[in-house]
């Protein structure tokens, strides 16, 4: 049996990402994985909440956080989540070019977010001498926000890899689940950021 035929049907099904058993498995597997990730971030949030006032005479969140930059980052990441939804919309309409375009915008916004985060960390370290080793608060801050940033970086590498790999051959039932699971992961990263924005920055600023 030829794979090209079974994976490239004449008309794409409604949900190409779940049309094969492998696709269904990947879809469900990623959901379970995100369940585990939730516990991972919950543990990091718990640690952060326990240590957020342990500044040991080092800088406190109130003194260093600038909500302007963090607001910009929030907008970048939230928008990138929206653009990935557009991409999935085009996937379901079997419009590969538009899907790649919107995913490209998603990647662009993600890179923007990451650049802001790197600038933010650089700023804290050089302006305030606030580092990973300054205090328990510093350790907890950089670990929580850094784990999120690491997830963004990993997601971007993943996205760019599958975009380049499939650029020439278009959408089929083999790679549709790869795109779709990426979009699920990306939404999750976005949701985590919403909590970071609230718990780390807003609560840090307000008290």
């Amino acid at each position: 049996m030829s794979h090209d035929h079974s994976l490239n049907p004449e008309t794409m099904p409604q949900e190409p990402e779940k049309a094969t058993l492998e696709g269904k498995n990947k879809f469900l597997g990623l959901w379970f994985f995100l369940g585990g990730e939730t516990v991972l971030f919950a543990s990091l949030f718990g640690t952060f909440l326990a240590l957020r006032n342990s500044t040991a005479d080092g800088p406190a969140g109130e003194e260093i956080f600038g909500l302007e930059l963090v607001f910009l980052m929030t907008m970048l990441l939230l928008t990138s989540s929206l653009t990935s939804v557009y991409a999935m919309y085009h996937m379901k309409n079997n419009d590969f070019k538009k899907m790649q375009l919107w995913l490209g915008i998603t990647a662009f916004l993600g890179i923007g977010f990451l650049a802001c985060e790197i600038y933010e960390f650089y700023h804290y370290i050089h302006e305030y001498h606030f580092t990973f080793r300054s205090s328990a608060f510093g350790s907890a801050f950089y670990t929580l926000v850094g784990f999120h940033g690491g997830h963004v970086a990993f997601g971007l590498s993943w996205l760019i890899a599958i975009m380049v790999r499939n650029a020439k051959r278009g959408l089929n039932l083999y790679n549709a689940p790869k795109y779709y699971t990426f979009s699920l992961y990306w939404h999750f990263i976005d949701v985590v950021w919403v909590f970071i924005f609230t718990v780390v920055y807003l609560m840090g600023k307000v008290g």
């Binding site: 498995n25 379970f32 990091l44 990973f132 670990t143």
Partner: protein, 617 residues
């Protein structure tokens, strides 16, 4: 056997086959081999501990080496022996019980095994590289953050790598059970072992990330100068205890629930009766899992969380006795009035009931926070958890091995040797641990490398050590049984025990595609239904057709090797920055493997209908 394996293969080809296999049955062999190896290692460490305690003020081991022994015994037995052995049995049997041809993610399955194996080897490399971890298997801070040398670093990296493998196994089993059940195999028709695999996987999924975070924090503190547990910089040492036990308590249910599933299947088969209270058993399993997440602070009663927290956690802990009690009574009721066969598998199962009940009873005693102030960190606790872990998990693993050995390897384990090893191990077990309750109540603390003469502890410790030696002999006999059986054992038919579930409907050992045609399931104990209705074999749910199978791959092995190399890099970059090369090289290898996996297409292959027809049944 399958087409590919019909010819005899050379030794190198067999090794290559196992390195690249994605077949759940072969991965099960690997897990059993790896877990079995570490079980012997952990057993040896246990014997060293007991020999040191055979008489007062013994000098068989130095104080430092004793600390390394107890740490490695606990860590090895939990993470590197009990869990992989259970994962191996789940891998071998669960897909067969639901009528599937493989697991949902065969590649991930292989990766999970190799991560576990490399993690375990990394941890044990510490013996030869300046000393093993010595802060106890719980690695409490600040003891673990200040422990000199690299022992604890090996603990951190070894567990981090093997833990990632376990997490993948959990996700894999969950998806397999949700999407790959045969037609008619509804959730409430799944064998109990499949149910407990499912619930255990949920526990793995939600418990292991807490350990991951805990280990990361410990790693950052030890290797990169962060201050999570450093009180002078505002850190808090109790955070480790919370994270560890949020993982650690579900972990003990991760260990015991699969054993419960094993016993449920064995009691039903050898009593020739449907499992009594099937629905209640499923419900009790889920309830135990749920409550398992609510009780972690009962390990921390003496930390000083306050009376309210202690009271809540004490009551939640006692509540777990209710679903567990339901299970005990259901097993008894399953046997009640049944036509019982007593063989090795059944002996281990029968012995489990009183042994585990004693462990459960001391568990309720320990759950009482006020009383726990007396028992805490005494040998009473040691006796308690060995009663549940050995009396429950180890008995369960041995019962499962006797029960499913014919299915996994095509040969029946020798009964005479099996019974002999059972009696030696069973008597040795109670001799070792029963008296430890009293040693604990008389005030003997755990983890001390000597005790003084004439404190009333001499006889008890001597008896305990003699018991441990008996257990050692029993365990050794089991290994001899395996060797004997593989050389001279009788060949097993497809259904040696007059079984009830789907795994007994296919040849022993099964062909690599498991089911030539997916079976149609008509109720609980599907094979038994066909037997009682006179057909004796499963009805196919599909016409004979091509079977799609996944490709093998060496990538999981190389990826795990990458993490292994990076592990050494992380440990030694503290002394010498040049070791960062190993970190980057190792992580580079691992990430490159991920990239290849993502970019290369793996379409698998088909076994054609004609090939299947040619094969003799």
């Amino acid at each position: 056997m399958s087409i590919a394996a019909a010819q005899k293969k050379g030794f190198g080809a067999v090794i290559w086959d196992y390195l690249t296999t994605v077949d759940h049955k072969k991965i099960a062999h690997l897990y059993l081999f790896g877990g079995g190896f570490f079980f012997l290692l952990g057993g040896l460490e246990a014997l060293f501990i007991r020999i040191q305690l055979i008489k007062p003020e013994n000098d068989f081991l130095s104080a430092g080496l004793y600390n390394e022994m107890i740490t490695m015994h606990g860590t090895t037995m939990i993470f590197l022996a009990a869990m992989p052995l259970l994962l191996g049995i789940m891998n071998a049997i669960m897909p067969l019980q639901i009528g599937a041809r493989d697991v949902a993610f065969p590649f991930l399955n292989s990766l999970g095994f190799w991560l576990f194996m490399f993690g375990g080897v990394l941890l044990n490399c510490s013996w030869f590289l300046g000393g093993a971890p010595d802060a106890g298997w719980t690695a409490y801070t600040p003891l673990s953050t200040t422990s000199p040398g690299h022992g604890v670093d090996f603990y951190i990296l070894g567990l981090q790598i093997s833990g990632a493998g376990t997490l993948m196994g959990g996700i894999n089993f969950l998806v397999t059970i949700v999407t790959m059940r045969a037609p008619g195999m509804t959730y409430m028709r799944m064998p109990l072992f499949t149910w407990t695999t499912f619930v255990t996987s949920v526990l793995i999924l939600f418990a292991f990330p807490a350990l991951t975070v805990g280990l990361f924090l410990l790693m950052f503190d030890r290797m990169f100068g962060s201050a999570f547990f450093e009180v002078s910089l505002g850190g808090n040492a109790v955070i480790w205890q919370h994270l560890f036990w949020i993982f650690g308590h579900p972990e003990v249910y991760i260990l015991i629930l699969p054993a419960f599933g094993v016993f449920s299947d064995i009691f039903a088969t050898f009593s020739k009766k449907r499992l009594f209270g099937y629905t209640a058993m499923v419900f009790a399993t889920i309830l135990i899992a749920f409550l398992g997440f609510m009780v972690w602070a009962h390990h921390m009663f003496t930390v000083g969380l306050g009376p309210v927290a202690n009271a809540i956690f004490a009551i939640a802990t006692m509540a777990i006795a209710v679903p567990t009690g339901i299970k005990i009574f259901n097993w008894l009721a399953t046997m009640w009035g049944g036509s019982i066969t007593i063989n090795s598998a059944m002996l281990w199962s029968l012995a489990f009931i009183p042994s585990f009940t004693i462990g459960g009873m001391t568990g309720v005693m320990l759950a009482s926070a006020v009383a726990d102030y007396q028992y805490h960190d005494s040998y009473f606790v040691v006796a308690h958890f060995h009663y549940v872990i050995v009396g429950g998990v180890v008995f369960g693993i041995l019962a499962a091995l006797h029960y499913w050995w014919p299915k996994m390897f095509g040969k029946i384990l020798n009964e005479a040797l099996g019974k002999l090893s059972f009696w030696l191990f069973f008597i040795g077990f109670h001799l070792t641990f029963f008296i430890q309750h009293f040693l604990g109540l008389m005030g003997m603390p755990r983890r001390y490398w000597v005790f003084l003469e004439d404190q009333g502890l001499d006889i008890g410790n001597l008896v305990s050590t003699i018991g441990a030696l008996l257990m050692g002999v029993g365990g050794l006999l089991f290994v001899i049984n395996i060797i004997y059986t593989s050389v001279k054992g009788e060949k097993a038919p497809a259904d040696p025990w007059d079984g009830r579930t789907l795994e007994w409907a296919i040849p022993s050992p099964p062909p690599f595609y498991n089911f030539k045609q997916t079976p149609l399931v008509r109720g609980l104990d599907p094979l038994w239904i066909e037997k009682t209705e006179g057909k004796g074999e499963m009805t196919a749910a599909e016409p004979l057709g091509d079977i799609h199978m996944p490709d093998g791959s060496i990538l999981p092995f190389i990826m795990s090797l990458g993490f292994f190399i990076a592990g050494f890099g992380f440990i030694y970059q503290v002394d010498q920055k040049a070791w960062l090369v190993a970190v980057f090289a190792g992580m580079g290898i691992a990430l490159a493997c991920m990239l290849i996996r993502s970019l290369k297409d793996y379409h698998g292959f088909h076994i054609t209908k004609e090939e299947l027809e040619r094969e003799a049944d």
